[in-house]
Amino acid sequence: MSESAFEPKIVGFLCNWCSYRAADLAGTARMKYEPNIRIIRVMCSGRVDPTFVLKALSLGADGVMLAGCHPGECHYIEQNYKTIRRFKMLKHTLRALGIEEERVRLQWASAGEGALLASAINEMVDQVRELGPLYWPGNWADNEGSQDAIQALPREHAEAMEVPA
């Protein structure tokens, strides 16, 4: 494969009140940004379970963006502070698993910050493109030659191990 052909696939979780509206605004303002992000709407960034991020990566996404209201501006008063904590905890774990910093990003974008969101998406796509594919399932897809080795066993049993009566 040629590296230039790689287009990252990024899953975005955007809160309904700020970031999703920022995406609406980016659209209304016709701000062009990279098509690599695919957005899931959640009511609050506080809904984003670390499982969602892990799931996206395990499915083969190359990056995940979480976006929500700025701290102190949450429509649910203070839930995005929980997002900060979970995000930091998750990153702590992802770091241990060898996943690069740039692949999972927390971005604040208020409803008025379409441009900010668009540029954050562009920046992230650039960074992940630079890193190359993650393709997490490839980490275990093969287990190098396991099929051959398994098939060798019954053959061996049949041949070598059978003691003539």
Binding site: K9, V11, G27, M43, G46, P50, C74, H75
Partner: protein
């Protein structure tokens, strides 16, 4: 999966159909996505014909799920939900894909746009099949309303409701209602006397049979939900028996202790330790200020008690608590004035004759400390020249980035009053003049004609360090006159600082108490900046006046009335539907670990000691899903945003990575692109 999904791709004229090959998206969805029984593209899905198209298909083809790929759900989700429910399909069985805002308007390459649209449709199709029927719950609305704050916005709201025949509880922190407006002398641009137009409304509130006025009181706690709030109000001890007091004022007269009045007189005048902020105060009962009263300080005095003709003084009084039940809450908690001392170069607090706008209002007010004479801090000398500085703390990233909206007009009003009362020269230093409303520009024109000087330039500093002839003994205002491009020094006798309007010092705490969020600048956040300006994210809690942002009296009154109208609507309807997008705890799975207990800012989660499990009150839950994401036992599920629904959407969005069967495939997307 046995669901029958109908997919509709909207052209939105050429908005979508231009950058996205909509026919191709529809064809692809029909051919590739499990569960899709039909996929159509149509010019305008939101038109009545478009909606009928869906309804026909539900009827004729037996669709059980509907996906509309069009604009943002914020625009038309409601439209399509309603269309489906009209024909008998539960509205929560629809899903939108925002292929206009997120695809056609933001993507340059047509192939990439078409591909992204397909993936988004795949996500919606996967998700919609797992969506469940939901029913909003209906609860009755208590017709009583709590109004917090007795400034002009709160007064307006209370009177509107009371006049319509509904019971209102008004809670006011200070001993009297009236708010900032009661401190003002005149109002712009009409120059009406503020008291003349405000006090009749205040006494209406005081006398209204439907209004129960709780002054010198604060809301202690609020719980419950729209239609049914429980409020606990703390009535601070007045040390005056309200039933016995006639409001004659002898206690005030006899009180030997005089202190600076930091609130009503803005620190510019004095009051007694037992006081009524101003003669027309509503209610009429005075308050004994425990912190300054000689009796409370030293244990002797009681002059007020000796002279009170009705034995209304009660030094033994304590704070009392009142429990109320209301259906709705209107918050009109107002603003604080910016602390002008935070900009030391303007000399406030150091240079005697630098005043704040609120101090100046009191100076001008016939009922104020100088009986309406505009005098310097010595209390004797009339100024011969006055400088007015705009934007003190406003439009300044170091303090408040926003414009305080009222200062330009205040400056004009002050200029007029100074010239009228003293004949002094008036200089106004502004960045931009913003006389924005009806008859405001005309007022500006009038002041120009009256001879007020306007210098376009933000003041650099105010100093008493004279260095040029004519500066000795004056305050010198130094600024660049930006229209000339030269630095100027204007010596004046008095400087008025138009301090910014800023959120109440305790706004954050108040917001938490009422479940109302605030923006970075600290003002309470409305539900929608344009289309829902007085509602908040908490159903049944409305905001009016300056607690939502800087505004002048007409706008505050309009918001007070608007909030009242919203409440009346709720009362008239009698019941409210509560959004079914809430979280629930499956009791059998809950181990009562109590992780979730502190997570809900709306106090929807309670711990049931007897069952040792946690419980979510659906009426209080706002559906944010934070607890759902937190539950370590995964005992909490969030309706309409379940894990499975979100996983399904994710799998659809990554269709090009994982293929149709959900298992990750190694060859990402070759078959997907049109050749």
């Amino acid at each position: 999966m046995t669901e029958k999904v109908g997919v509709y791709i909207c052209h939105c004229g050429t908005n979508i159909a231009g950058p996205v090959d909509v026919e191709e998206v529809a064809r692809w969805a029909k051919e590739n996505l499990d569960g899709v029984v039909l996929a159509r593209d149509y010019r305008f899905m939101c038109s009545s014909l478009g909606q009928e198209l869906i309804q026909e298909d539900i009827k004729n083809e037996g669709l059980t799920r509907v996906v509309v790929a069009a604009c943002s759900p914020h625009l038309h989700e409601k439209t399509f939900r309603t269309a489906c429910s009209k024909i008998g399909l539960n509205p929560y069985l629809t899903q939108m894909a925002s292929i206009r805002e997120q695809v056609s308007w933001v993507t340059e390459d047509r192939a990439a746009a078409t591909h992204k649209a397909k993936m988004m449709v795949a996500g919606a199709v996967r998700r919609v099949q797992l969506q469940e029927e939901l029913q909003p719950t209906e609860v009755p609305v208590n017709p009583n309303t709590l109004v917090v704050g007795g400034g002009i916005a709160g007064i307006q709201a209370a009177l509107e409701l009371a006049d319509a025949g509904h019971k209102v509880f008004m809670v006011e922190r200070e001993p009297s209602i009236g708010g900032h407006m009661a401190q003002f002398d005149k109002t712009f641009p009409t120059l009406d006397c503020a008291a003349c137009i405000l006090t009749p409304k205040m006494s209406d509130v005081g006398l209204h049979e439907n209004i129960e006025l709780l002054s010198y009181a604060e809301v202690d706690s609020l719980s419950g939900f729209v239609g049914n709030f429980d409020v606990r109000v703390r009535k601070k001890a007045r040390y005056i028996d309200e039933d016995a007091c006639t409001g004659c004022g002898i206690c005030i007269e006899k009180c030997p202790k005089k202190v600076v009045d930091e609130v009503f007189e803005a620190g510019l005048g004095y009051r007694k330790a037992v006081y009524r902020p101003f003669p027309q105060a509503i209610p009429k009962f005075p308050v004994i200020d425990r912190d300054t009263c000689i009796y409370f300080e030293r244990g002797t005095c009681k002059a007020c008690e000796k002279f009170c003709p009705t034995e209304a003084i009660d030094f033994e009084q304590t704070d009392t608590y009142l429990d109320l039940n209301v259906g709705n809450v209107i918050m009109a908690t107002g603003y604080d004035l910016f602390d002008c001392g935070k900009i030391p170069q303007y000399g406030y607090g150091r240079l005697a004759n630098v005043f704040t706008s609120l101090e100046f209002e009191r100076l001008c007010n016939a009922a104020g400390p100088t009986e309406g004479h505009i005098l310097l801090r010595d209390g004797v000398t009339e100024p011969q020249s006055v400088g007015i500085i705009h934007c003190v703390g406003s439009r300044d990233k170091q303090h408040h980035a926003y414009c305080s909206a009222v200062c330009c007009m205040s400056a004009l009003k002050f200029g007029h009053l100074v010239m009228e009362k003293t004949g002094a020269e008036v200089y106004s230093f502004y960045i931009d003049m913003r006389p924005l409303h009806k008859n405001y520009e005309e007022f500006y024109d009038r002041l120009l004609q009256e001879g007020m000087h306007f210098i376009r330039g933000r003041v650099a500093e105010v100093t008493d360090a004279a260095r040029l002839p004519g500066e000795d003994g004056k305050l010198i205002i130094q600024a660049e006159d930006t229209l000339i491009g030269k630095q100027r020094r204007i010596p004046v006798d008095m400087v008025i600082l138009l301090g910014a309007l800023q959120p109440r010092f305790d706004a954050k705490e108040t917001g938490l108490k009422f479940g109302v969020s605030a923006g970075l600048d600290g003002w309470f956040t409305e539900r929608h900046p344009k289309l829902d300006p007085v509602a908040t994210m908490t159903d049944g809690v409305f905001i009016a006046g300056t607690c939502q942002g800087p505004k002048d009296i007409p706008d505050s009154v309009a918001q007070g009335a608007a909030a009242a109208a919203r409440v009346q609507g709720m009362i008239s309807k009698g019941t409210v539907l509560i959004e079914p997008i809430v979280a629930t705890i499956e009791e059998a799975r809950c181990s009562g670990c109590r992780i979730c207990n502190t997570l809900c800012p709306f106090n929807a989660i309670e711990y049931l000691e007897d069952k040792a499990v946690s419980y979510i009150n659906p009426a209080l839950c706002k559906g944010c899903g934070t607890c759902v994401a937190a539950c370590p036992a995964q005992a909490i599920s969030g309706a309409h945003f379940t894990n499975d629904q979100i996983f399904a959407e994710m799998e659809g969005l990554l269709y090009d990575v994982i293929g149709s069967n959900g298992a990750t495939v190694k060859s990402p997307q070759p078959a997907l692109e049109p050749a």
